[in-house]
Symmetry: C2
């Protein structure tokens, strides 16, 4: 049985989202058929508004205005400490941990020659300029992978030697079990062992 | 860290959908920030279109025009066989099985005095009229529950005795294991045992 076109259109849009298959999309769309016109209108206009979302002119974090709330925070500027992340979601995870009080820089990915992502596709030149102007310390919070490692080395080379460039620590996650961890993580954990 | 308002609005809408928590909503919304304005516009307008979705004047199935494609199908009308379901999703499941070739009637739920759902809240009077006009056989494909059972008895009482009123069979689902089934299902399976 074919779904009515108007319903099928919504189902099709939902299936384009990550983690949404045909059944979930149908269940969500059927739920939406029970929303009234005003509620649907609000959902629709909030989607349209997304295309006017800005990226902070400094760090590339998504924001409503020209600069994000972090870059305009004087207390954070004073730390002269910059954390480089791949994507805004990494930045949200770090903010949730409450452990970092400096500013961020979103690269937009990592170097990946096979996918045609070189330095020009990433936000790297802007990083070099920002660091030269305002920062004394850089923490690379790039995920561990061959491409991530290469990206970190590349950035380290570009930055002046006077800058303290560090990378976040790798090892056993809290709550993790050695039994279930991969060999790379365990070998990193041994490398990063600390005297106690 | 607060999300930009435009992003937060979209996240809020997604969390209203069934099975979507905060993390999933954020992941889906972040994906949407990568869509271009035209794609977002299409998603938005398809949502708006949902409010103009019609219900078939005969069976209450959602459809684009006044009558659904099933009710206007002459071959299906000829069977004079009506299947009563709670919701349109039940009807989709039955159509997927390919086992039924008559017409449908969507009740919109089951009788539930505790939730204030009486006969007037359901599409029952219309069912009685339709059956009197056009059908000789009715299959109740109402889910098994106390309320479902009561609804079936109520409908049976309302229909003329000349109509053959049946209810779908209950028992062990194909691929099911007795070991994991509840006592009610097993007792129904014994009740519905068939000579072989």
């Amino acid at each position: 049985m074919e779904l009515p076109l108007k319903l099928q259109n919504v189902v099709d849009q939902f299936t384009k989202l990550p983690g949404v298959g045909g059944k979930t999309a149908l269940r969500q769309s059927m739920m939406l058929t029970k929303w009234n016109a005003r509620e649907l209108q609000f959902f629709a206009s909030s989607l349209n508004e997304l295309s006017t979302l800005k990226q902070c002119a400094e760090c590339l974090i998504l924001c409503d205005h020209e600069f994000c709330t972090l870059c305009t925070n004087v207390k954070r500027q004073e730390k002269k400490l910059l954390c480089v992340v791949e994507n805004m979601t990494d930045c949200l995870a770090i903010e949730n941990s409450g452990q970092f009080h400096g500013l961020y820089h979103v690269l937009g990915g990592v170097l990946n020659p096979l996918l045609g992502i070189g330095p020009d596709e990433l936000n790297i030149q802007k990083l070099v300029n920002r660091v030269a102007e305002k920062f004394t310390e850089v923490i690379l919070a790039i995920n561990p992978s061959v491409e991530g490692d290469a990206t970190c080395s590349y950035i380290k080379e570009l930055l002046p030697t006077s800058i303290d460039v560090r990378r976040i620590g790798f090892g056993v996650p809290i709550g993790g079990h050695l039994e279930y961890l991969d060999a790379m993580t365990i070998s990193k954990a041994f490398e990063n062992s600390r005297s106690m």
